[in-house]
Subunit: 344 residues, 2 copies
Amino acid sequence: MRRTIVDIAKEANVSVTTVSLVLNDKAKSMPESTITRIKDIAKKYNYKPNHMAVGLVTKKSKTIGLIVPDITNNFFSELAKSVESYCNLHGYTLILSNSNNDSKKERLSVSLLMDRGIDGLLIAFSQTESMEKQSDFVKLLNKLDIPLVALDSYLEGLTCPGVSVHHSLGGYIATKHLIDLGHKKIACITGPKSFYTAERRLKGYFRALEEHEIPSQDNLVKEGNYSYQSGYDATVELLKNDITAIFVSNDLMAYGAYRAIQEQGKTIPDDISIVGFDDLIFSEILTVPLTTIRQQISELGNKAWDLLYQGLSDGTPTKEYLQLEPKLIIRKSTKNILKEGNDA
Amino acid sequence: MRRTIVDIAKEANVSVTTVSLVLNDKAKSMPESTITRIKDIAKKYNYKPNHMAVGLVTKKSKTIGLIVPDITNNFFSELAKSVESYCNLHGYTLILSNSNNDSKKERLSVSLLMDRGIDGLLIAFSQTESMEKQSDFVKLLNKLDIPLVALDSYLEGLTCPGVSVHHSLGGYIATKHLIDLGHKKIACITGPKSFYTAERRLKGYFRALEEHEIPSQDNLVKEGNYSYQSGYDATVELLKNDITAIFVSNDLMAYGAYRAIQEQGKTIPDDISIVGFDDLIFSEILTVPLTTIRQQISELGNKAWDLLYQGLSDGTPTKEYLQLEPKLIIRKSTKNILKEGNDA
DNA sequence: CTGAAAGCGCTTACAG
DNA sequence: CTGAAAGCGCTTACAG
């Protein structure tokens, strides 16, 4: 049977006030004997305060919500894992919610979680909706009376802090790597342009080209939807042009590109160099291991937590949007076409 | 500002009792006018009952816990997604906890969740510990006063219901498929034998062999740890024998097998047929798509929820352990070696 | 320094 | 049929 603070007070012959004070380490000058007596009894019964009772009076649930588009996506499960560990470390519990890339479900999740009385909220937005429709959602979010942090995504007009990998820098680094290897005819397979991540990565691609005075060509940029099949399809199209390299906006599409290239009897990296983005575990074990951009997800979770915790502790209300440095992982899918040597 | 039941009672000129009754649809013969008046006011203020207050008096948190070894593993994230959707459907909230394959952390999670006042618990056990050490954990679990269901794993002596894929049947089907294709020299790469899943799958392999009067050979069974590298290593060893097929206990190890086979200049399925287990998304997009055993994870989540819900609703206390039928997905990595045709 | 008491926002016997 | 009141298990001003 679960004991209450009253049970302990009785057994220790003190008031519940005293028990509460002692157990919360708020007892100042109290006889050491009383303190140990109370603590001993609490330990004996393995006393744990009733979470709901505490929450009712303190108005804190010690719970935080995390909304992701799809926990099945490895990026988000890594993120959830990281965030969960930080939550636990600080005595918070994580409630996970999948929006299934559906903005309706996303809004529903927000209100469900709010009704639950979460103390803070982390959201990785699904980005499948037009800006206009989002504007009232943004308004709602800005009015929330709990700290909020945006993960790996952003909505126009949001006033909360956020954190993501520096996607445009990633696109830049990937493209620059190709340029440094002597490539000039560099295509790009981007994700849906309405996605924050895709748009930023594409921007990096353009910037790298521009900086090196390589004119960009519309027909060398194809839009996929981050799926394997779309990577395949885009590559089939792209291969009709005279290209030597492709920057692919995520690894999954890069796998599709591999297939298309192989089917055309061409080889990687001899005929076509490929750089991906994400560094899925499979990228390393491909027959031709994929050169790609790695996102440091656990660091992302760390920063996200820091940002949230700042809000939770009512520190200075940071509104900054952090961008973490992505990392180029050079493997075997890119080749230097200047010298007669092999890869990078 | 968040309204309370008192605010609504005042505005509607009724008692809080009445408001509570109406809002919980427990009002029997009450003037329709009063009901609508109260409901309208509630809607106007977007009233939501304070979750902690309700919980304090009803002793229900409408929260359930899910402990998994590693959410980063696609199997568990699929499972979590499925479970979460059923929870939400029934008005429950899911708290996710990672045990990181660490039984200490697993026990900690259980007590943390219990302290939180969850109404039910789903656990996919990490199976990295000896049976003896587990026995007190089992005792603790059996004493829990909330419904519990075991997921895809089991501990000796547990008295709760559970559900998993019928692993031994999966191993059987996989091996029988190979036998049906004319193979007789069939190796097996198993997972850690201390794992429930690995042990069961291996058992299925043996049963299929036995039923077809193919003697099993110790040197044709290698134990891996479910990792890519271990699949590779095991295959290198196995290839020293005269074999024509391998049943690999999970897809990731099968990928390692692919690499080893390829490095030896052999081809799949012409020289070696391979059957995996899991059906990861990558299995389909391999150069030689992998024949494998698919676990129907969303159904698993469904059944798990049903089992838990039965306990939650205090129905008949089922103690059954359900085993779901696995599905053979035939692709290109297995070949019929009897007739001169091609694959299955 | 300690304890009695109010109060957090609900639900639910129990009277009227 | 309705409402006053007790009570869920805590925390925290406020008196003594």
